[in-house]
Structures are given as structure tokens and as C-alpha cells.
């Protein structure tokens, strides 16, 4: 990569205070300290005062033009604080941030709109706030309105806009400044599907010429746009790499709740679920069994019947991946009638001819559903887990198949 580094972050830390009143006191103290020209304790990291914590703790990275960094982490990991630091809204406690060129931040898109002024007036105002001149805005006015799709409402006060319309307008304005650095926080969630797709296309459009930083909890979005990933935990930088799938995997691992959860009404309960193991040539109840993507998978399920029910029912085997995406449902009664007989116990042999799932750990949920009432007589999450190995390194889909390909070269 020959393009120049646009964002350089060196060992940046930021501390915040947990108590508001104390934070106000510290603010006054900090102001006085800033005024003290002769202070010499420079360079070293200051300690924490009472009630303080590091919201961002020693983060360093570089980003070049054309690269896109996805920042992931649980709530309160310091992502938004880091974005505020990058955007220059707050000052780092230690460390240094260097940004080159025009910076656009899609953080709170409806910020800077005055509710009782019209959309037209607000475009000029917010444009001025973002650093556009009046003539620049006039030139781009039509394309902004076009992109935001609000032609009909342009002379209506912004307070009557829907939240989606405000976000559209904000986004349209922000990307119009042709940024060198684009910072995107989880803002696009408000827009409707069409607009989200439009935004992603627009980001993809300017990506080649821009250094982009994206914060999102949506792993599909991250894996779609990011070329680098930064995983944060309690302000610390846990993982920084170009291996985006690995970063997503590490992030997802933090949430893998291996406890099984019972959500049904309890007429049925799972006694055991065993998975056929190729190695042992037997059914095993192992949480870390490995299955191959195009192999036949076999399961053996035993249910206890705890109470009589008055209708026939279906049994479902629901498979989810790490990101809790529903990958596969295997439901009894799709080609046979619903199960009506009821003994003390039910045991089923289930065979999935080709698993087609993508690489990663998967969890199984077992459900028993009434045919007519739709009641969940049993719904047990995380009954068991298994790993899948697929020969696909590039895919982020829930399933991958080899397919049957016939490639012909045409002249």
C-alpha cells in the first residue's frame, strides 16, 4: 500500500469520571491546571483520581487512504469515546491523534438542525457548520435533496420530519463535503432498508479515496466494509488486525452463552441430544464435536413428556451461529403429518443430508410446537453445540455450498 497514512493514533487514553458532581469539580481543577504554564509533568500518563476510570486506554493504530477500520466491542467498551476523540470533540488525556485532510463524522446525523426552521434553511446552516461555503451548498443543493429524497418536504420545518428523514438529510449533507476521513457511528439503523443500502453503496463509492472508520454492532456490516478490525474491551485494544473474520469471531466469543435456557411451557423437556461423531462411530454428547460442511449430520434426540397435551405437535431443531443468526431449521412434519401419539418419552433420529453451514461454532435449540395453537411446549436454547469446518475462507454467509459449476470460456 503506497497511499499515505491519513489517521495516526498513538497510545491514546482518555479518562472519565463516574460521578457527575465530582467530574464538575475536576473540570474546574483541570482548567486551573491548564492555566498553569509552568507545569512540567509532561509526557507521563497521569494517575486516576477518585471515581475515575479509563474509557479509552492506550489505543494506537494507523489508517491509510482506501482502508476501512471496523471498531467492535461490547457496550461501554470505549468505541464512541474513541470516535469523539478522533473527531476532535474531546481532547485525549494522553497520547496523540493526527488527522489529515477533511474529516466528516456521521455520528449524530440530526445534530445541528434547528427544529423550527425549514429543511432548506437547515441545509444551509448545517452546511456552514460542516465548513461548506454558501456557493458550495447552492451548487450541491439539488443533489443533497435528491439523495435524501425529501423534495416534497424541503420547505417544511424539520421538527415535522420523521427521524429517518432527518438522518437522510444529515447523511446526504455529510458525504457532500467529500471527506478524506469518514467516521461512521451506528447511525444508519434509523433509515429504512432502501436508504441503508443506498448509504452503504455511497460509503463503498467514496471508500477508495477515503480512510473510513466504522463502529457497528452489526457484524455483517463490519465484514462487508471493513478491511481492518479493532476489538475493544474496557477501553483497551484487544485485537487489531487485517483478519476481520478472526476479530468478529473473538468479539462473538465474548457473548457465547453456553448455558441452556428453558423458554417453553414445560410439557416437554429435553433429556438428551447426541450428535453422530465420525471419529467415534457413535452418538456422543460432546459440546465441541467437529462436523464437516457437506457431510451428513445425524442427531439423536430424547424428550421427556411431563404433562398430557391435547393436540398434535411438531419438533424442530434450530441451528444458530455465533452471531445468533438463524442458519438452519430442521422441522418434523414438513413432509409427514404432525406427531400425535404421546408416551412417557419420545426419541427421534434426525438426519440432515448435507449440513451446508459455514465455519464456526453453532448452537442447537430444540422446540416442540403445537400444531393448532402454536404453543411452545418446549423451547430449550443452547441444548448442545458443534463446530463446523467449511472450505470457505472468504465467505461470511451462514451457509456455503460447493455447488456444481460448469465454466465455459466464450470468445
Amino acid at each position: 500500500m503506497s497511499s499515505e497514512v491519513l489517521i495516526k493514533v498513538e497510545n491514546v487514553s482518555k479518562k472519565f469520571c463516574k460521578s457527575f458532581r465530582t467530574s464538575l469539580r475536576y473540570a474546574v481543577y483541570d482548567m486551573l491546571k491548564e492555566l498553569n504554564v509552568f507545569r512540567t509533568s509532561d509526557g507521563e500518563k497521569p494517575g486516576l483520581r477518585k471515581n475515575e476510570f479509563w474509557a479509552v486506554d492506550g489505543v494506537s493504530f494507523e489508517l491509510r487512504r482506501g482502508e476501512c477500520l471496523g471498531i467492535v466491542g461490547h457496550n461501554g467498551a470505549g468505541k464512541s469515546s474513541l470516535l469523539k476523540l478522533l473527531n476532535g470533540i474531546i481532547k485525549p488525556t494522553t497520547g496523540m491523534i493526527e488527522m489529515k485532510g477533511r474529516v466528516a463524522a456521521l455520528i449524530e446525523l440530526s445534530a445541528g438542525f434547528n427544529p423550527i426552521l425549514t429543511g432548506r434553511e437547515n441545509i444551509y446552516n448545517k452546511g456552514a457548520i460542516l465548513g461548506l461555503s454558501r456557493t458550495e451548498i447552492t451548487e450541491k443543493f439539488d443533489s443533497i435533496v435528491d439523495f435524501a429524497e425529501i423534495e416534497d418536504f424541503i420547505d417544511m420545518p424539520v421538527q415535522n420530519y420523521s427521524s429517518g428523514m432527518k438522518v437522510r438529510l444529515g447523511f446526504a449533507l455529510s458525504v457532500q463535503i467529500k471527506p478524506d476521513v469518514l467516521i461512521v457511528d451506528e447511525v444508519l439503523a434509523v433509515g429504512d432498508l432502501g436508504f441503508v443500502i443506498k448509504c452503504f453503496n455511497k460509503i463503498g463509492d467514496i471508500l477508495a479515496d477515503t480512510a473510513v472508520i466504522v463502529v457497528s454492532h452489526s457484524m455483517p456490516s463490519i465484514s462487508r466494509v471493513a478491511s481492518k478490525i479493532l476489538l475493544m474491551d474496557h477501553g483497551k485494544q484487544i485485537f487489531l488486525s487485517g483478519d476481520v473474520p478472526k476479530g468478529i469471531e473473538m468479539y462473538a466469543k465474548k457473548f457465547s452463552n453456553l448455558e441452556s435456557i428453558e423458554q417453553g411451557s414445560g410439557e416437554f423437556s429435553v433429556e438428551s441430544l447426541e450428535i453422530w461423531s465420525e471419529d467415534c462411530q457413535d452418538y456422543v454428547s460432546d459440546d465441541d464435536i467437529c462436523l464437516k460442511n457437506e457431510q451428513t449430520a445425524k442427531f439423536q434426540l430424547r424428550l421427556n413428556s411431563n404433562a398430557e397435551i391435547n393436540e398434535s405437535f411438531y419438533i424442530g431443531l434450530i441451528i444458530r451461529d455465533r452471531q445468533q443468526r438463524n442458519c438452519l431449521d430442521c422441522i418434523s412434519g414438513l413432509n409427514t403429518s404432525a406427531i400425535s401419539s404421546q408416551g412417557k418419552k419420545i426419541s427421534c433420529d434426525i438426519e440432515v443430508p448435507s449440513l451446508i453451514l459455514n465455519t464456526g461454532k453453532h448452537s442447537i435449540t430444540i422446540a416442540v410446537v403445537g400444531e393448532n395453537t402454536g404453543t411452545f411446549y418446549c423451547r430449550t436454547e443452547n441444548v448442545s453445540h458443534f463446530n463446523v469446518i467449511a472450505n470457505a475462507h472468504v465467505s461470511n454467509a451462514t451457509s456455503v455450498v460447493e455447488g456444481i459449476w460448469q465454466v465455459n470460456n466464450e470468445l
Binding site: 492555566l35 476532535g88 496523540m96 434547528n114
Partner: protein
């Protein structure tokens, strides 16, 4: 590509205090204020439009307070409830001009905290030259101070006050009065954005201040009131402005010069304080 990259402006965010290097600070301030000028004007226009769009009487609201206050004091004086000493111009003129000038000072004093606190959303979400808010506030204070003066000046003719070029000088000194208030207000802004006590306290303090300033009555030069008035920074500016605006020749007093110098120094301190304090304050702001 390389060429293009080399021309890019570089922004550095680092924790050290800007005060350490006064020359850099000065050049930064100069740059930021010249950058913030256009935006400041824009924000000012926006605020003015928005402020009066939700009123029925519109810009009349600028006139109502000084006219009402004047009527009250003239009424008090006419009905002998209040005995005011001899004034150099007819009493209604004295009160009206005094009120307009006092209001100019109060606008200057109150505007910075009010306008900047209103922009919490902007400050906490968008990176923009914060100095533009100082400029927008100053424009707003001047607008609110000058419009009623310009509209009500013709009333003076009714009281046979001669029109002269002195009135123009008077307008310049009204500007100084606004700036005196603004320097004090801006000085209090960072702390006022942290603690609402400041915002709550200012109206109370100004109410007392009003009575210690020769707004509606001349303050006797002897006695406690005289001593307080002597150390009241508003007095020299206000008296000077009123003399000029009622076409009386006036020479700046020694106190006037002292206050003028003090005001310039305070304004400078306030501007620097605002610059270094804002990042700390914004951290504590919620939007």
C-alpha cells in the same frame, strides 16, 4: 495521490496545554476567529430567524422591555412616589436612554452563556470552530442592543433633543457598553456551562447592579451609593454614552479610560480561557 496527500491540512489532537506556547496560541486564535467569522454570522442569522418565528409580535419583543421599564419609572416619578434628583435632560429621556444603555450592557452580559449553552447538541456531536459561537453571540448581543436604540431614537426629537453628530459617537460607545458586558459574560461562560449557579445568579446580580448604576436616577456623588457607583465599571461608560446620545458634549473621564483598558484585557483573557476550557467543559455536557 501522493501530491494530493501532501497538500492536506493536518490536525493534531494532543493533551498539552496551549498556553505553554503563547505564539502558537495567538496564531491559532487568529486562525480560528477568522475561520469562525462566516459561520458565526450564519449562526447569528439562524438564531434570529428561529427566535422570532415562534412569536406573534416578532421583533417587537426587542422594544417592549425598555419601553415598559421607562413607562414604569416615569409613572413612579410623576406620581411623586419617587424623588429623583435633577437630571441634565428631561426625566423621561434620561430614563429611556438609561434603560436602553443598561439593556445593552445586560445583553452583552447574558448572551454568551445563554447562546453557547443552547448549542450543547452541536458542541457534543460535531467538530466545528467553537469561536464561531463567540462571534454569533456578540452579533446577537449587538443586534438586540442596537435595534431598540435605533428605533427609539426618534422619540428624543419629541422631547426637543437636538440632533447632532455626537449621537453617532454615542452609538460607538454603546458598542463599548455591549462589549464590557460581553467580556464579563464570556469570562463566566466556561464555569457557567459547568455550574448552573452562574446562570441562575446573573439575573439576580444584574437586578441589584441596576440600582447601583445611574440608569433611572443620578447617583449622588457622596455617601455609600456614591462610593459603590465610583467602583462600578458600568457607570463611566453609561454616563458617557447617555451624554453623547442626548447631544451633550462629553469628555472621557479617567475612570472611562481605566474601564476601557480593563475591558480589553478582560476580553482577551476571556477569549483565551474560552479556548482552553471548552474541551474540558464539553466532556461534561450532555446533549
Amino acid at each position: 495521490m501522493e501530491n494530493k496527500d501532501n497538500n492536506l491540512s493536518v490536525t493534531v489532537y494532543s493533551p498539552e496545554s496551549r498556553l505553554r506556547n503563547p505564539l502558537v496560541l495567538m496564531s491559532e486564535l487568529f486562525k480560528e476567529y477568522s475561520q469562525g467569522l462566516g459561520l458565526g454570522w450564519h449562526l447569528f442569522v439562524r438564531n434570529m430567524k428561529a427566535m422570532y418565528r415562534q412569536t406573534f409580535l416578532g421583533y417587537l419583543w426587542v422594544l417592549i422591555p425598555p419601553v415598559l421599564t421607562t413607562l414604569i419609572w416615569v409613572f413612579l416619578s410623576k406620581s411623586d412616589i419617587l424623588h429623583v434628583g435633577k437630571t441634565s435632560v428631561p426625566y423621561p429621556v434620561y430614563v429611556l436612554v438609561g434603560n436602553l444603555l443598561w439593556q445593552a450592557f445586560v445583553f452583552g452580559l447574558q448572551t454568551p452563556i445563554r447562546t453557547i449553552a443552547k448549542e450543547k447538541m452541536l458542541l457534543t456531536k460535531i467538530c466545528f470552530p467553537h469561536q464561531s459561537l463567540v462571534i454569533a453571540g456578540a452579533l446577537e448581543a449587538c443586534f438586540n442592543a442596537f435595534i431598540p436604540i435605533l428605533i427609539l431614537m426618534p422619540v428624543l426629537l419629541f422631547f426637543k433633543i437636538p440632533v447632532s453628530v455626537l449621537m453617532l459617537y454615542g452609538l460607538v460607545s454603546v458598542f463599548l457598553l455591549v462589549m464590557l458586558g460581553y467580556a464579563i459574560g464570556l469570562f463566566l461562560t466556561p464555569i457557567g456551562l459547568l455550574y448552573q449557579d452562574v446562570g441562575n445568579g446573573i439575573p439576580i446580580v444584574t437586578r441589584f447592579w441596576f440600582f447601583l448604576t445611574p440608569v433611572v436616577y443620578p447617583i449622588p456623588s457622596s455617601g455609600l451609593a456614591g462610593v459603590v457607583a465610583k467602583f462600578n465599571p458600568v457607570t463611566p461608560f453609561l454616563n458617557f454614552s447617555r451624554d453623547l446620545m442626548t447631544s451633550q458634549a462629553a469628555i472621557p473621564s479617567a475612570e472611562f479610560v481605566v474601564v476601557l483598558i480593563g475591558m480589553i484585557v478582560l476580553m482577551f483573557i476571556s477569549v483565551v480561557l474560552y479556548k482552553i476550557a471548552m474541551p474540558i467543559v464539553i466532556e461534561r455536557m450532555s446533549s
